[in-house]
Structure formats: structure tokens, C-alpha cells
């Protein structure tokens, strides 16, 4: 996510020479780069253009904050504006009437049914009894899908013999009224916005159940056409909000901006996984960075660190499995990798929109100085010492310390760390823990080892 845009922005920014003030001249390249970034994130073409133009007009002539060049300042303005546009007050879901009806609509495959289950859980947890109903009489086993989810959740599911969506909806509403449920969640069939019959059906259902909330469920991977469908749904029904699904992937999710721009509706919730609890509040900051492809900065550093460690650990694990021990040479190699990552700190420093406290948090995780010292110590050893650290007695320690220009304690500390690491590694391999550890690092899933390929989500 972070990759290309950063590279291109840096390039564009370097081309910008003027300093001190944002002018037409010195932001032209940056404007184009940002527009392309938005388009690559699937922001609709007209939305991207209007957005960037607006931001540029706002930015022109603006004094550039010290330490930022005009390009960076512009990106920061874009970022802040994105946060503003994506934000806006998302009123919490509140029932109007008894029950409060939530109607979910959207294209096929957007994730409505899964979201209905998640919403049921979300609302039940907050103390309101929920009744679920599906009017999807078209897709095979659509109603069974929701019924299964409801049963798993222990939430009511409205069952009827009728195959007519309007009848099902009316009966479900009456049932929730009688049953005293606080919420009725109405899952509807996926439909194309150009399907006039199906859109008429949606309007009819809406008229019959008078929802408190009519939520447009949209796939975060949606492309350019999402503006057209969002607009058409909003025109056909008065929508009240948006739920963005499948955000756990690597889609940049420009659709969030497109839908927000054309409907003006708040994004109320985001789906973050297949599990029924994977429903979260929408955080505009996080999404602004994501659309611009800058990622969450601290999160990024953690990610890089993890990937470096992982590769290294896999190599080391292989070695240990073959019964070899971890030499100081291996240890030095690991340290070198960590030092290389220090370069990221410098990169972050240049990045727009990075808050000082984020930078501090990021650099606290990587202290290249400390690692460089340790590398220096290992450099001063003889190859034999590196392979067999037990050779290192008091006088050798003093020699090494002098060579590295550091106190003897530093050498002792390094040796202790190395010993500790070797021990930990051994234990992990012995208990089969290494596999688990690697698995945990790889999948980010809990380390408690469910058997692979079963019930793993």
C-alpha cells in the first residue's frame, strides 16, 4: 500500500523546487500524482478530479509550514481534507418506532447477509432483542444462509412459507411488533441499480416497513461504477448510511470517498473480516491514509519489522532444526537487517501527514544506534570467536571491547543476549512451538494452535 505512491510522491516532490508558498507552478506535478493515486484507489474519475481541484484552490497561496516543502504541504492538505470529507457525524443506530427496522440493500455479492448477522450481534450486545428476516427469494439458499447465522448467534429468525418478498417483510414486521423485539433487520436480495423491476421491489419493501435505517452495503473493492449504483440506490430509496465491507483485504477503498461524495451519507460501519464480530466503527483518518496509500505509520513499521523478523526466523529455524547452533555471525546478520530498517525512520520523517507522536512511536521501536554498536562488537571478534562464543573469556572480552571502543559490559551484554536467544529458539523448536510462532507471525491469527485447515477463521 505504501510502496509506489510514496516513491512517486517523493519523486514529484523533489521536482518541486519553489519553497515557501504553494503556487500553480510548484504543485502541478503533485496534483497529478495525487489524482493518479486516488484513481488507483478506485475513487471515481469525476470525484477525484473535483476533489483535487477543490483542494488545490484551497491550498493556492497558502504559506508553507516550516520543514515542509510545497509538495508535502499539499499532500498534507489533501490528507486533512480527505479526513474531513470522509468524516462527518455518523449518528449511532437508533430505533425509531418499535421495532426499529434496519433495511440492508446493495449489489449482488456486496456482503449484505454476512453484515446482517454482524449487525444482529452488534445490536444484541448493546441490549436490544433482534429479529432477522431475509426477503431474498431469488438466490438459492439465501434465506438458509441467514437462518444459519441467526441460529449460530442465538438470534431470532423470521420463518414463513411465503415466497413473496412484500408478504415476508410485512409478516416479519408484525411478528416483531407482537414479539416486542427492539430491532428488525431486513436482508434483501442483491440487485443491480439498472434492474427497474428489482429497484421497484426495493421501494415497495421500504414503503411497507418504514425503516429507521436504510443502509447501502458496498464492497470496498468496488470499482468506478460504484458511484452510479450508489446514486441510483439513493435516488430510489432514501438511504441513511453506508456500510463498507471486506476492508480486511488490501483494497485501497476509494469507493468510500466516491459514495460519500455522491450521496453525502455517513459511512457508519466497516466489515473487517468474515467472523461475525468483525464489524467496526469507521475511522476517517485511517481510511484517508489508506486511500492515499500511505498506510498507518506505526502499523507500517510494525509490519516491516515483523516481515524481516519472520524471514530471518524461518532461516534460523531451519538451521536449528538441522541441529546447528546460532552463531554470532547469524546474529550479526539479523542486526544488520534491523539497522537497514532504520532507513524507514528517515523516510517517515519526510512523509506528509505524519504526526510527531507517530514518528516518535515508530522510532522508539527501532534504535539503529544500539544495533550498530552490537555489530561493531561482533566485527571486532575473530571468526573462531564468532562461531564459538564460549571461547570468549575475560581477556578476550577486554580485547574485543577495546577494538569496538566500548565498555566491557557491552560485550558481556551482547553475549548474554545471544545465549538467551539461542536458548529460546531451542525451546521453541523442541516443543514444536516454532511452527506455532511462525504461524502466528505469518497469519496474525492467535497462536493457540487450532489444527491447520479446520475451523481456522
Amino acid at each position: 500500500m505504501f510502496d509506489q505512491l510514496t516513491a512517486r510522491l517523493t519523486e514529484a516532490i523533489q521536482r518541486v523546487t519553489g519553497k515557501g508558498r504553494i503556487t500553480e507552478d510548484n504543485v502541478r506535478d503533485t496534483v497529478r500524482t495525487i489524482r493518479m493515486a486516488l484513481l488507483e484507489a478506485d475513487v471515481a474519475v469525476p470525484v477525484a478530479k473535483a476533489f483535487v481541484d477543490r483542494v488545490r484552490d484551497r491550498a493556492l497561496g497558502e504559506e508553507v509550514v516550516r520543514s515542509l516543502n510545497p509538495g508535502q504541504a499539499f499532500v498534507k492538505i489533501v490528507h486533512d481534507e480527505l479526513v474531513t470529507v470522509l468524516g462527518g457525524e455518523a449518528s449511532p443506530l437508533a430505533p425509531r418506532g418499535q421495532p426499529g427496522v434496519i433495511m440492508l440493500v446493495g449489489l449482488q455479492g456486496a456482503g449484505k447477509t454476512t453484515t446482517a448477522g454482524k449487525l444482529a450481534r452488534h445490536l444484541t450486545e448493546r441490549g436490544g432483542a433482534v429479529l432477522l428476516v431475509s426477503t431474498d427469494v431469488y438466490r438459492p439458499a439465501a434465506r438458509e444462509q441467514l437462518a444459519t447465522l441467526a441460529a449460530d448467534l442465538g438470534v431470532g429468525f423470521f420463518k414463513t412459507d411465503s415466497n413473496d418478498p412484500a408478504t415476508i417483510a410485512t409478516e416479519a414486521l408484525a411478528s416483531a411488533q407482537r414479539g416486542g423485539q427492539r430491532w428488525l433487520i431486513l436482508d434483501t436480495a442483491g440487485r443491480l441499480h439498472v434492474d427497474t423491476e428489482m429497484m421497484a421491489e426495493a421501494r415497495e419493501l421500504h414503503r411497507l416497513v418504514e425503516p429507521s435505517e436504510t443502509l447501502f452495503v458496498v464492497d470496498s473493492m468496488a470499482g468506478q461504477d460504484a458511484v452510479n449504483s450508489a446514486r441510483a440506490f439513493h435516488e430510489a430509496l432514501p438511504l441513511t448510511g453506508v456500510i463498507l465491507t471486506k476492508t480486511d483485504g488490501d483494497a485501497r477503498g476509494g469507493v468510500a470517498l466516491s459514495v460519500r461524495e455522491v450521496t453525502g451519507l455517513p459511512i457508519k460501519l466497516v466489515g473487517t473480516g468474515e467472523k461475525v464480530d468483525a464489524l467496526e466503527a469507521f475511522v476517517p483518518e485511517r481510511f484517508a491514509s489508506r486511500i492515499l496509500g500511505m498506510g498507518d505509520v506505526v502499523g507500517l513499521v510494525e509490519q516491516v519489522q515483523q516481515s524481516v523478523n519472520r524471514e530471518e526466523m524461518e532461516r534460523v529455524a531451519g538451521k536449528l532444526k538441522e541441529g546447528k547452533r546460532l552463531s554470532l555471525e547469524d546474529y550479526r546478520e539479523q542486526l544488520r537487517q534491523l539497522v537497514n530498517m532504520g532507513g524507514i525512520g528517515q523516510l517517515l520523517d519526510k512523509l506528509p501527514g505524519v504526526k510527531p507522536e507517530q514518528l516518535a512511536a515508530a522510532s522508539a521501536k527501532i534504535d539503529p544506534k544500539q544495533f550498530r554498536r552490537q555489530i561493531g562488537i561482533i566485527d571486532s571478534m575473530t571468526p573462531a570467536e564468532r562461531r564459538q562464543p564460549s571461547l570468549i573469556d575475560g581477556s578476550r572480552k577486554r580485547r574485543i571491547a577495546a577494538g569496538a571502543g566500548l565498555p566491557v559490559q557491552e560485550v558481556s551484554r551482547l553475549l548474554k543476549q545471544h545465549e538467551q536467544l539461542t536458548k529460546t529458539m531451542k525451546q521453541l523448536t523442541k516443543r514444536g512451538g516454532m511452527q506455532r510462532l511462525l504461524g502466528a507471525m505469518r497469519g496474525g491469527g492467535g497462536g493457540g494452535g487450532p489444527p491447520p485447515f479446520r475451523g481456522r477463521r
Binding site: 474519475v45 438466490r139 439458499a141 438458509e144 483485504g249
Partner: protein
Amino acid sequence: MAVEAKEKQGTGFFAKLKARLNRGKTWLTGDLLGLGSRPLDEATVEELETRLLTADVGVDATQWLLDEMRKANRRTPGAPASELLRQTALALMQTVEAPLVISAAHKPFVILAIGVNGTGKTTTVGKLAHRLKASGASVMLAAADTFRAAAVEQLQEWGRRAGVPVIAQAPGADPAAVVHDALVAARARNIDVVLADTAGRLHTAAGLMDELEKVKRVIARFDATAPHETLLVLDGSQGQNALAQALRFNERLKVTGLVITKLDGTAKGGILLAIARQLRLPIRYVAVGESAEDLDVFRAEEFVRALVGDGAG
């Protein structure tokens, strides 16, 4: 018995789309009256750039297409822009036109359908079952989506409609075991084609990609030449992420063919051009609706005609 997935002439998806929805003349240039005869001047290039980006072609592939058009324009100066675009896009898409041939040498011929959540895998498997059965093949379905609620029932309904058997296990079962069961049953019953439906998964979920690799391994243990087709199902209304999906799934599972679904909406599926350029994966089918017959063999000519027009202006 040789099984051929044959395309009936004249009932291609372009014709269907035209009949079903009032899309206008073409997806891309239909409302750009006059573009047809305009030469490739900078104003036209800019206009085309916008159109291509709006069709989900993506920044890279759009630039590439426009560059190629400029080159072609130098060879034949003054050629109409629409003709340049048509030729360039057609040449590209022809490199990925390769209909699926179901060879009788493999019995059963094993097709594994994969993709992210909600792209239309189950529906496509159902449609394919219908199509292959109609062409005279005996077909069996493997319900290897053991994760999503009622996914098995969904496939069973398609099986009922197509009149083909569905092998399934209890929810939560090992998908590889389900596929294995189906392969054994298919061999015993002398079945021609086994279609395995799998659970949707994001290409970024490493553990779930491992799971698919295992399914593939189990199939290969049964028949070293199988699966004979690893079919990635992409949602035609998705944007640039579809390219990431194709890249990742191909990396891990060696995709041999693509299906692009939901082209019955107003989304243009332009991401196919980007995928064609970067990956050269054969595009097998396009889906244009939810009924059994809404699946057509991909034809570059038709796709490009739908996208750009037929040059008649």
C-alpha cells in the same frame, strides 16, 4: 466421450446485453458522439484517458493503451481514434482469448473454482454445470465451501436445477476431504467433469491460501495432471483490486483461466485489460446475469466491440 464447450454463434454476451439492458451503443464510446471519426489529437487522447479510467482500465494500462495508439497513429496518420483504440484493445485481448477445452483424455476433468468472497464462484459453478451437462457431459459438483453458512445448500440447489450430483460433507469439514470424496465418487461413477466450488477468501489471507494449496495437492495426489483447470472468478464491478487478486491467486495457485462476472450491470470490466497486459491469463467465460444460461465464452472481438464500438462510429 469428447466434451467440447461450444459457443453458439450469434448469441454472444454482447447481443444479450443489448437485448436486456439499454446500454446505449457501446459502453465506452457510446455517448462520445463524434469520437468515431476524430483523429488522435491531444483533446481526444485526454477524453479517451478519462473514458478508459472510468471503465476501470487503471492508470498503468490506460497509459500503455494510449501510447500504443500513438504509435499506431504514427504508422497510419489520420486514422480515426476509435479505430486505433479498437485495434489496440483487440490485439491485447486476443492474446487472452483461449476458450476452455475439456479434453476427454482426462477423466474426470477437474475444475477448481477460486476467488474472493462474493464474486460469483458458486453461481458460476452452477452455470458451468448446466452448460456442460447440456453439451452432453456427465458432471459432478464438489461442495468444498464448508465455511460460509448455507453455501452447501446453495450449490445443492444449482445441482438440482442442472440435474447433476453434488458431493458434500457437514459444515466445517475439511474442503480437501470433500474434493477427494468427489473425485473418488466421480471415478467410480465414470463422470466426465468434476467442478469444485470453494469458499471465498481474500488473497491477503495467507492461511486461507495455504488451505487452497492443500486442496490442490490433494487433487494432484489423486491425478497428477489435475486440477486441469484452476478457474479464478473475478467480479467485473470491482476495480483495481481485481488485478491484485489475479496476481496473488496466480502466485500461489497457478491460475489457468479467468471468469469475469456481473457484466450485466453498468460496470465495464476494464480491469480485464490491465490483467491481460500484466498476466496474460486466458479469459474463459464472462457472466451476464444470475440465471443458468447467463454464461458465455469470452470472445475478444465481442468484448472489445462492447467496450469500444465496432468502428462504424
